[in-house]
């Protein structure tokens, strides 16, 4: 059983993840802030994290840095519209050696499933 953590302050986004990943059989958890996300990550075990970039409180980049302090390997998909105000910070994090992928929004159901399966199952899975 693979576990997925979705960290996003927008309820609609959390909901869509739950709905669209339902058929994959993965177990999806959501957190509504960077702080809660880190707490959940520490307490659980996750194979993939979806992380929103623009959040109040700890934004996506700060959350990523904290996560990476705990776990350098877990795949993280940053969800962003690219012209995000935090995009520059993200580039910096990348330069600092923080590993992550970018999922460009808006994406539809099929794109999400493809991306998720791709990370969790490997290239042969889709």
């Amino acid at each position: 059983m693979k576990h997925i953590l979705v960290i996003d302050d927008d309820e609609a986004v959390r909901k869509l993840f739950l709905l669209s990943l339902e058929e994959t059989g993965y177990s999806v958890f959501t957190a509504n802030s960077g702080m809660d996300g880190i707490k959940a990550f520490k307490e659980g075990h996750y194979d993939l994290i979806f992380l929103d970039l623009k959040m109040p409180g700890m934004n996506g980049v700060e959350t990523l840095r904290e996560l990476r302090k705990i776990d350098r390997a877990v795949p993280v998909y940053i969800i962003t519209a690219f012209h995000d105000e935090f995009f520059a910070q993200l580039k910096k994090a990348e330069a600092d050696g923080m590993d992550f992928e970018v999922l460009r929004k808006p994406f539809d159901r099929r794109q999400l499933i493809t991306a998720t399966k791709g990370i969790l199952e490997g290239p042969t899975s889709y």
Binding site: D10, A12, K15, L16, S20, H83, K105, P106, D108, R109
Partner: protein
């Protein structure tokens, strides 16, 4: 002959002689004589003091006086009376002396006769009278001469004063003339002196000679319009006539043609005045070519500045709109995405023949549409943003060719005839390739859209050099843009396309890109006449607008 008796006083001490004389006078034909006698000098002198005597007959030898002394005393006593000496034969010398001293005549006793006596007395009186008159006259003359002399002296003094004044004035005049001449010669403006009556030039200063390049001789005696100085002869005769009337004329800007054919602009100020009783016109000519050039430069700089401000204002506006749009668009991203997923989820859980299936499909479709709109908006709002591509030197024809390729499917499908003409002198231009491609893509897409409902579908592309840049013209045979719309075509969100066919961002984005390259975009269009867009890009990348506005008329935007 006098009617009055003549009163004679005889001073004779000899009574015989006295009686003789008395008798003679009685006999005389020469009027009447009244004779009085005195036998000594003192008596005679006494009688004389009483007056009324016209003549004195005097014997010089008297008991109480001697010879000349007798005479002198009588003369002293009555200087105004004629004295005739009665002398003896041997006394003639003495008598002569007396005559020399002032006696009128002398008679010798022995030779006396009444006729002679009377006559002598008469003559003596007459002579005396005349002497007196002469004397008076002489005195009078002397007086006159004295007066005249005094007058002359005064006049002379006055004359001398006048001469001194004249000399002083002349000196001043000379100094003033030298001073004026110096001003005339040294002036750093041109000066012409004309005879007011005829308008002929009588003098010209060195500065003007140099300014205009004509030698001195060519000016003198001619009129201003005769030396080809001023462009319009008719206007100048008129001006001259005005000058004669009003005594003053001013041209603030007079174009002149100087001898070597060059043009000069001058300020021409003329006024008339009197000198030595004659009317004279002085013309001051100041070269204002530089002032004009500076004014033109200023005008040009001002026009440039105005254009720059307009562009800056536009850019600021666009930037503000961009920020607003970006904010809204970002906000919309999540909800739209969520809606899409929700619709898709439902679709995944419903049979295709369920009546709500199509509706859900519609929801999905509309959600996608919204997302597209938002995507366009974000592209628009970030068009100045983010990592800018580098400038490259490219032939514009290459860009257009690429765009035509991108649109080739649509061009063929819709049956549009596209012709291009590229001038072989067209230079390469420094551009951001992708951005410029987007701009032309937008313009060509618009052209294709305009042709959708048309019978004749033609697009003509023209690429040629323009000034120091390149002009790309894209013309379509569409139905044209109305004059009212023409004012708004570059406004963001302005569109004449039907709903769903365009956000109206194309042209404003296009204009932004072109301005960022230092270029200009204009449009010619009219209902039924089709539309042409002209894009001019300079070869060298330049910030802001071009300073040369000459290409664009008011009609175009």
């Amino acid at each position: 002959m006098a009617n009055k008796p003549t009163n004679v006083l005889l001073i004779e001490d000899n009574p015989g002689d006295a009686r003789l004389i008395r008798e003679m006078l009685v006999e005389a034909h020469w009027g009447r004589f009244k004779l009085e006698c005195a036998d000594r000098l003192s008596a005679g002198l006494g009688r004389l003091t009483e007056g009324g005597i016209d003549c004195v007959l005097l014997d010089l030898t008297l008991p109480d006086s001697t010879e000349l002394d007798t005479f002198e005393r009588v003369q002293a006593q009555a200087p105004e009376l004629p004295i005739v000496i009665i002398s003896g034969l041997g006394d003639e010398t003495l008598a002569m002396k007396a005559v020399k001293k002032g006696a009128q005549d002398y008679l010798v006793k022995d030779h006396l006769g009444s006729h002679v006596l009377a006559r002598t007395i008469r003559y003596a009186i007459e002579r005396k009278r005349m002497e007196e008159e002469l004397e008076r006259y002489r005195e009078h003359l002397e007086e006159l001469v004295k007066q005249r002399t005094a007058e002359l002296r005064r006049t002379n003094k006055a004359l001398q004063a006048e001469i001194a004044e004249r000399i002083r004035v002349e000196k001043d005049l000379k100094v003033s003339e030298v001073r004026y001449r110096r001003l005339f010669e040294a002036a750093q403006d041109g000066i012409l002196i004309l005879e007011a009556e005829t308008g002929k030039i009588v003098d010209v200063n060195p500065f003007l000679i140099e300014m205009l390049g004509y030698p001195h001789e060519e000016f003198i005696g001619k009129r201003l319009w005769e030396i080809g100085l001023l462009k319009d002869i008719a206007a100048n005769r008129e001006a001259f006539r005005q000058l004669q009337e009003r005594k003053y004329i001013r041209y603030e800007h007079l174009p002149l043609k100087v001898k070597d054919g060059k043009r000069r602009a001058v300020e021409f100020v003329s006024n008339a005045y009197r000198v030595d009783g004659k009317e004279v016109i002085q013309c001051n000519v100041r070269d204002i070519s530089e002032r004009i050039r500076d004014a033109e430069k200023l005008k040009g700089a001002h026009a440039h500045l105005t254009r720059q401000s307009a562009i800056l204002a536009q850019q600021t506006k666009m930037s503000a709109i961009g920020t607003l749009v970006a904010g809204v668009a970002h906000e919309l991203n999540n909800p739209l995405m969520a809606m899409l997923h929700f619709a898709q989820y439902c679709l995944n859980h419903i049979a295709e023949d369920d009546q709500t299936y199509t509706v859900l499909r519609d929801i999905e479709h509309e959600a996608r549409r919204c997302i597209d709109i938002v995507k366009n908006l974000l592209t628009f709002s970030h068009s100045g943003d983010g990592k800018k591509e580098k400038y490259e030197l490219k032939n514009p024809a290459e860009i257009l060719a690429r765009v035509l390729t991108l649109l080739s499917y649509r061009i063929e499908k819709e049956g549009v005839s596209v012709t291009s003409h590229v001038d072989e002198e067209t230079p390469k231009i420094r551009i951001r390739v992708n951005a410029m491609q987007d701009a032309f893509l937008s313009l060509l897409t618009n052209a294709l859209d305009a042709l959708e409902e048309r019978k004749t579908k033609a697009v003509r592309i023209d690429i040629r050099p323009d000034g120091d840049g390149v002009r790309v013209s894209i013309a379509d045979s569409g139905s044209g843009i109305s004059p009212k719309s023409l004012d708004n075509i570059y406004d963001p969100f302005f569109t004449t396309k039907p709903v769903g066919r365009g956000t109206g961002l194309g042209l404003s984005l296009c204009q932004g890109i072109i301005h960022a390259h230092g270029g200009e975009i204009t449009c010619e269009s009219g209902p039924g006449k089709g539309t042409v867009f002209h894009v001019v890009i300079p070869t060298q990348r330049r910030k802001g607008a071009k300073s040369n506005e000459a290409h664009f008329s008011d009609r175009r935007r």
